[in-house]
């Protein structure tokens, strides 16, 4: 079945993170498998309009007002004309929204549904249920997903979480993990220090990543083992805490803070280490530990969220999220390294390679697309009835109004009057690319290969 897929999210390149990585790699693999894929996101600074990335991936940077945390202002109706125009022009059949935080994804999914397109939503994050903000976001998600054809979660915990907070039927929720480009993250034991043991941490330095735990572990480990040094990549609002600890304990020569890293630099940093430490407090999937394992490092990680599902037990040391347990886990990893009881880096790499690949993720996502494409379209009445189930009456007004605006637009600019963009054959472009030896414009937009 041929689908024309529109990935929508507020988070995309030049922003960096798990969601962005997922969208980019999934789109690339879908292009390779002959699907048409476009990406919608909001403008980043002067990056506005249409750009092409690797393999002719068409990215629309929409001129929408960014409100908070890289999210657009959720007006629900202001972007309708623009979204409708793009959906018709590109002959989209499936709208695939990413991330529960992304207002643009929810808006595009609403418009897409009202236009009779199929919608798929991928949830990349976990949420609690305790505080007010969680209660509100969960309600919004429930409203948005009550009409979504299918949801995808990146781990089984993520599925349980989404089923609970958005009240989606569990049959409509698929679990398809993230993957890691194992061809990029290859081991290189020669880059490692011979007489020292390097513990690598690569993460954004924010509270959720457990910087407070790091700050308590580093001095203890340094005091216990004179041969251990720390290499920390990443930046964030909690960076000062690590700087302070380093200063206070006089560890300038043993704790290196690299600041924020480009994605392309991560591999070389990982390869300098023997042990990878992850101290996240909550995590739906955690790509970082898979990248580290793919580079052949021993992984020590807190056992939170989806992390216990990600790696087989012989590749990871799981600990409770507290200082004592993490110290025990690191102790064990260091001891195992000293006594040589570790999985050799290349073997580790092969294991990870056999477990995760973006192509596998893409094939599994295709199954979702195929099942969704077979579903029948709902009438506006049926739409409204399912929105009603979330119990938020005023939202029906919003949906009805959007429907009216769309009908008005159908009259004002009929579909026939909109130019249809020609579908590019991705394989032809890739061949062109190979012929002209990389001087084509879409080969260098992202430093991937």
């Amino acid at each position: 079945m041929h689908h024309r897929i529109c990935m929508v999210s507020d988070f995309f390149y030049p922003n960096m993170g798990g969601v962005e990585e997922h969208i980019f790699n999934l789109s690339q693999c879908l292009l390779l498998r002959g699907f048409k894929v476009i990406v919608l996101t909001h403008a980043y600074g002067d990056r506005i309009g249409i750009r092409y990335m690797t393999n002719g991936l068409k990215v629309f940077y929409l001129p929408l007002y960014v409100m908070y945390n890289q999210c657009i202002l959720p007006t629900m109706m202001c972007s309708i004309p623009l979204l409708r125009y793009i959906f018709i022009r590109e002959r989209i059949s499936i709208v695939h929204g990413h991330s529960a935080f992304s207002a643009l994804a929810h808006e595009a999914m609403l418009v897409g549904r009202l236009m009779g397109l199929k919608t798929v939503f991928t949830d990349h994050s976990l949420f609690g249920f305790a505080d007010t903000s969680a209660v509100i976001t969960n309600k919004l998600l429930e409203m948005s997903l009550s009409n979504c054809n299918s949801c995808i979660c990146v781990s089984h915990i993520g599925k349980e979480n989404t089923v609970l907070r958005a009240r989606v039927h569990h049959n409509r929720v698929f679990v398809i993990p993230n993957a890691v480009d194992t061809d990029i993250f290859t081991p290189d034991p020669s880059a490692r220090s011979v007489d020292k043991i390097t513990v690598v941490i690569v993460s954004r330095l924010v509270y959720r990543k457990g910087v407070d735990l790091m700050a308590q572990i580093i001095p203890d480990i340094c005091a216990r083992y004179s041969e251990v040094q720390f290499l920390i990549g990443g930046d964030g609002p909690k960076c000062w805490l690590l700087q302070e600890v380093r200063e206070r304990c006089g560890l300038q020569d043993r704790v290196t803070l690299l600041g924020s890293l480009e994605h392309s630099q991560v591999r070389s940093v990982l390869n300098k280490g023997h042990i990878f430490l992850n101290t996240s407090l909550t995590e739906a999937y955690c790509m970082a530990i898979v990248e580290a394992a793919s580079c052949g490092l021993q992984v020590v990680s807190t056992c939170v969220g989806g992390i216990p599902e990600v790696l087989p037990p012989d590749l990871i040391y799981l600990t409770e999220p507290n200082v004592q347990a993490l110290l025990v886990g690191l102790d064990k990893a260091i001891c195992d390294y000293k006594s040589g009881k570790v999985v050799p880096p290349f073997k580790c790499h092969e294991r990870v390679k056999s477990l995760y690949s973006w192509m596998d993720v893409t094939k599994r996502t295709e199954v979702v697309y195929n099942s969704v494409a077979k579903e029948r379209n709902k009438t506006i009445g049926a739409h409204l009835r399912s929105y009603l189930r979330s119990g938020v009456w005023p939202f029906l007004l919003v949906v009805s109004f959007c429907h009216l605006v769309l009908s008005f637009l159908d009259w004002l600019i009929p579909t026939e009057k909109i130019d249809i963009a020609r579908d590019m054959s991705p394989s032809a472009h890739i061949n062109n690319c190979f012929k002209s030896e990389g001087d084509c414009e879409w080969s260098s937009k992202k430093k991937k290969s």
Binding site: N171, V173, V175, P177, Q216, P312, R364, K374
Partner: protein, 285 residues
């Protein structure tokens, strides 16, 4: 739409990980789904008397405000001499002080007593000297505004008062200041500066000193009912309508609210699971 459930039944068991379940559909839901879900971990079902005594703390503070207002009304109408009010309230406060210093907290050395005495004298001296200023401070404001303002300030006092529960809204300073402001407003309606001085002394006794004493005493039904009864009787001498209204409020706060609280605890449904953010306990570094 129904998704087909014809996944290949393999003898292999489904495992909760992301790499071993080949042969299962991606939307397969195992029987272990949500088995780590926990509900209402931190909900404790308190017995009704405890809840009523807890609500009684609010009633108690409400009664103190009423008693204070009654004193004002008596002073305002000249039904009582300010000297008498000063004497009686002074005696009661001394009693409370003795109770607090010698019975509720560990016996203090002699120097503490001297220090406390000095504080009292400084307060009385400055209060007496400054009372003409305080009396005329809000003199030019119309009486309606004064009463509205005092009511509003007393309401703020009630909202931000420290009832012994650590919540972010609690602010003893704001609470005390609101009560002080209300009494400065009221003081301007009194006849002489000495009246104003007596009223302010009473404010400090009721809203600054009494809470310290009350915090040390355990919740008890006897004290609570005494205070309620006292304020009802006192209010009755001023206005019967107000007494009826006030008793309605007291019944609502002390009886109806706890009953509703007890009844609605059943509906409480807090969900906990592996997706919750881990909490970092602070350690001495």
């Amino acid at each position: 739409m129904k998704l087909k459930k014809t996944y290949v039944q393999k003898p292999r068991k489904w495992k909760k990980n992301l790499y071993e379940n080949h042969g299962f559909l991606d939307n397969y839901t195992d029987t272990s789904f949500l088995e780590e879900l926990r509900k209402n971990l931190n909900v404790k079902d308190s017995p009704l008397p405890t809840i009523i005594l807890g609500a009684g703390r609010v009633t108690h503070e409400l009664c103190i405000i009423v008693l204070f207002t009654v004193i004002f009304v008596y002073l305002y109408n000249g039904w009582v001499e300010p000297e008498a009010v000063f004497m009686y309230s002074g005696c009661l406060t001394s009693l409370g002080y003795i109770l607090y210093r010698f019975f509720l907290t560990a016996a203090m050395p002699y120097t503490t007593l001297l220090k406390d005495l000095r504080t009292v004298l400084v307060f009385l001296g400055f209060g007496y000297v400054l009372s003409p200023v305080l009396k005329t401070l809000t003199d030019t404001i119309s009486t309606d505004t004064i009463y509205a303002m005092s009511t509003f300030m007393m309401f703020i006092h009630l909202v931000f008062f420290d009832y012994g529960i650590s919540a972010s809204i609690v602010s003893s300073a704001l609470s005390l200041n609101a009560a002080l402001f209300a009494s400065v407003c009221l003081a301007s309606r009194l006849a002489t500066p000495f009246h104003a001085f007596v009223l302010l002394t009473n404010t400090v006794e009721c809203f600054a000193l009494l809470p310290i004493l009350v915090a040390e005493i355990e919740d008890s039904a006897v004290i609570l009912s005494t205070v309620i009864l006292l304020s009802l009787v006192a209010l009755c001498t001023v206005s019967v309508t107000m007494t009826v209204l006030f008793s309605c409020v007291v019944i609502f706060v002390t009886i109806i609210c706890p009953l509703l609280f007890k009844k609605w605890t059943r509906y409480k449904e807090n969900i906990y699971g592996p997706w919750d953010e881990a909490v970092v306990e602070d350690q001495e570094m």
